[in-house]
């Protein structure tokens, strides 16, 4: 039973880590909260499902189409919300992205209705039974794909000049510009990379739960903030640590305390970490002011 829960939380933690990594990248270069992150992710899932309705639901095809759609939407959001408000007080982009979140969520409610929609994807991996544990194909896939995506991201950030430019911008945006880094290009491409990661997470999450619903973005958004902040906002290893911690807390509290308060426990964990260590577990202290 404990082993089963551990395996489940590992799969969930992998998916959360992808979402949080994408979020942390975007926060890292912008230093701004992106409130519509989860909603962009969910609407991409809806759009892909609608477009693919007639064809087969192969995992690869769904993955590629969701990633493409979410990246396009990510660029759109960056252009419409974050670029015009870059130099304004933080509250302006905050309110603006909250507005975008409301807008996307209600567009989904209007277009697809409030009911849950089946997220049908053919999982190319069979369910495994080992040592009394049962691991569904989607969970195995989640673990494998999220590790692969993390390795890819790590290689990108550490081994390429482009990745170095991103890390430079995260560390010190002004110095990066002085070193000849094109900030607009870095911000836009980080938005694409971050959104693409969230797209992968969307497909994995959808195939794990088998359904999506229009207001899912709020839950995804708050969990992503929670994981990012628990680990340390803007920190890449912190995002992974925070996500795993959140997934463990959630899975074990659902199994041993109460399923109803599963989401509340994420929030309690978040508030506790914020109080004990405001910069997060692996985060460095940042001067924050609005």
């Amino acid at each position: 039973m404990v082993l089963q829960q551990l395996a489940n939380s590992l799969a969930l933690g992998g998916v959360y880590a992808l979402m949080t990594l994408g979020y942390s990248l975007i926060f890292g270069v912008l230093r701004l909260l992106h409130f519509a992150y989860g909603d962009v992710m969910v609407i991409s899932g809806y759009i892909a499902l609608t477009l693919l309705a007639a064809s087969s639901h192969s995992f690869g095809l769904t993955l590629v189409s969701v990633v493409v759609i979410v990246s396009l939407l990510g660029v759109f959001v960056e252009r419409v919300i974050f670029r015009p408000t870059r130099n304004a007080p933080h509250i302006v982009s905050l309110i603006s992205s909250i507005g975008m979140s409301l807008m996307i969520q209600n567009a989904m409610l209007l277009l697809w209705g409030p009911a849950r929609r089946l997220f049908v994807v053919e999982i190319p991996v069979p369910t495994m039974l080992a040592g009394g544990m049962q691991l569904s194909g989607s969970r195995i896939l989640s673990i494998v794909v999220s590790i692969a995506a993390m390795v890819a991201l790590d290689t990108l950030l550490r081994r390429t000049r482009f990745g170095m430019a991103i890390r430079g911008t995260i560390l010190d945006p002004d110095a990066a510009v002085l070193m000849g880094i094109n900030r607009e290009f870095i911000v836009a491409s980080t938005f694409i990379a971050g959104s693409a990661l969230s797209g992968v997470a969307m497909v994995l999450l959808g195939s794990m739960y088998g359904a999506i619903y229009p207001t899912e973005g709020t839950a995804i958004g708050t969990k992503t903030f929670a994981a990012a902040i628990i680990g340390g906002l803007g920190s890449i290893p912190g995002a992974v640590v925070g996500s795993l911690l959140l997934a463990f807390a959630e899975t074990f509290s659902a199994a041993y305390v109460s399923v109803k308060y599963k989401d509340a426990i994420a929030m309690v964990l978040l508030v506790l970490v914020l109080l004990i260590r405001p910069a997060g577990i692996l985060g460095k202290h940042m001067e924050e002011n609005i």
């Binding site: 701004l32 909260l33 419409v80 919300i81 015009p84 408000t85 870059r86 130099n87 304004a88 007080p89 933080h90 509250i91 302006v92 982009s93 905050l94 309110i95 603006s96 992205s97 909250i98 507005g99 975008m100 979140s101 409301l102 807008m103 996307i104 969520q105 209600n106 567009a107 409610l109 209007l110 945006p173 002004d174 510009v177 002085l178 880094i181 094109n182 900030r183 607009e184 290009f185 207001t215 709020t218 708050t222 903030f225 929670a226 902040i229 906002l233 109803k260 308060y261 989401d263 509340a264 929030m267 309690v268 978040l270 508030v271 914020l274 109080l275 405001p278 924050e288 002011n289 609005i290």
Partner: protein, 326 residues
């Protein structure tokens, strides 16, 4: 009071009050009075919210949660203890104030975006408890709240509820007006403009923030009591974090840091979808659109202060240089 508020402003509010007082004489369709009553209630919530966001510069997104605490407190007291309207409303305000003070004490140490996320968490937990606990009636909510009565006079008709809630709004606005023109109000504004400078001239920044946070929650709780006794039913969906966002939209569009702003924004965002009946489906979509467009283009809203630009000239020069290279 005339000298505190300035005679002209006093006159303006008085002029606004006359049509509000006379509206019931017109005997319009009942639903108009019901909408107006809801506008009064939400204007109260937003007036409190405005003290926090507009005057003190603290961005919290837990206002709908504290509104819910007040509503559920009043509802539970009315249902189980059969206490009177005034007692329930005051209890709702006190409960919200107590909880917010307890939560604010640790949480207000956080700044900016961290505080936003922490308050989001608080609101999420409040609505989760409301939706799942036994004593809140779970997802079914709480029906069976007694109609309000004051001094033995029962208030049940739409027009009398209209006047009752108008009275509530006048009371809350008067308190807010007195407050923002008092030394406490000036401390709040000083904290908003520059915390360091405020501290340097001897303002207790921590205490000012906590007081404003508690006061905003107390007003939300008070309005919650009015809400519970207006619809005679409360349900968790009214108090989800998304509702806090809508309140923030109302503030943004009405204008922050002015007394008229929250009332104007609330009235506009609540009346407009009703006026455009066919567009009511798109209501929240339009709220979102308004929010994401108004905030960047028109930071002051209809009446509000211009939030000062935080980025220094040097940073702006650098980022525009980066932009021109793109």
């Amino acid at each position: 009071m005339g000298t505190i508020l300035g005679f002209r402003r006093y006159l303006l509010w008085g002029a606004l009050m006359i049509p509000a007082l006379l509206l019931p004489i017109l005997r319009l369709p009942t639903f108009i009075y019901r909408i107006a009553t809801l506008i009064f209630i939400y204007s109260c919530v937003n007036t409190g919210y405005n003290l926090l966001v507009g005057y003190c510069g603290i961005i919290s997104v837990a206002q709908a949660g504290f509104f819910g605490i007040g509503a559920y407190t009043a509802a539970l007291m009315s249902i189980h203890l059969h206490t009177s309207f005034v007692v329930n409303v005051v209890a709702g305000a006190l409960m919200a104030a107590t909880l917010s003070a307890l939560l604010g004490l640790p949480i207000l140490r956080l700044k900016g975006q961290y505080l936003v996320v922490a308050t989001l968490g608080i609101n999420q937990v409040i609505s989760l408890v409301a939706c799942n606990a036994e004593f809140t009636g779970g997802p079914n909510g709480l029906p069976g709240i007694a109609a309000p009565s004051i001094l033995g006079i029962s208030i049940a008709s739409p027009t009398s509820l209209y006047y009752l809630n108008l009275g509530g709004l006048v009371l809350v606005t008067a308190v807010a007006a007195l407050l923002v023109h008092s030394p406490v109000g000036r401390s709040m504004i000083a904290v908003r403009e520059d915390q360091l400078a405020a501290e340097a001239i001897g303002i207790n920044v921590g205490a000012t923030k906590l007081l404003t946070f508690t006061l905003a929650a107390a007003i939300a709780g008070l309005a919650g009591g009015f809400y519970a006794h207006n619809g005679l039913y409360v349900s968790w969906q009214t108090f989800i974090p998304g509702e806090s966002f809508i309140m923030l939209a109302m503030l943004t569009i009405g204008g922050m840091g002015t007394l008229a702003g929250p009332v104007l924004g609330t009235a506009l965002l609540m009346a407009l979808p009703e006026a455009l009946r066919s567009a009511s489906l798109y209501r929240f979509f339009l709220y979102g659109l308004a929010l994401s467009v108004v905030a960047p283009l028109w930071p002051g809203g209809l009446t509000g202060i211009r939030m000062k630009r935080k980025a220094s000239t040097a940073t702006r020069a650098l980022s525009s240089q980066g932009g021109s290279a793109a």
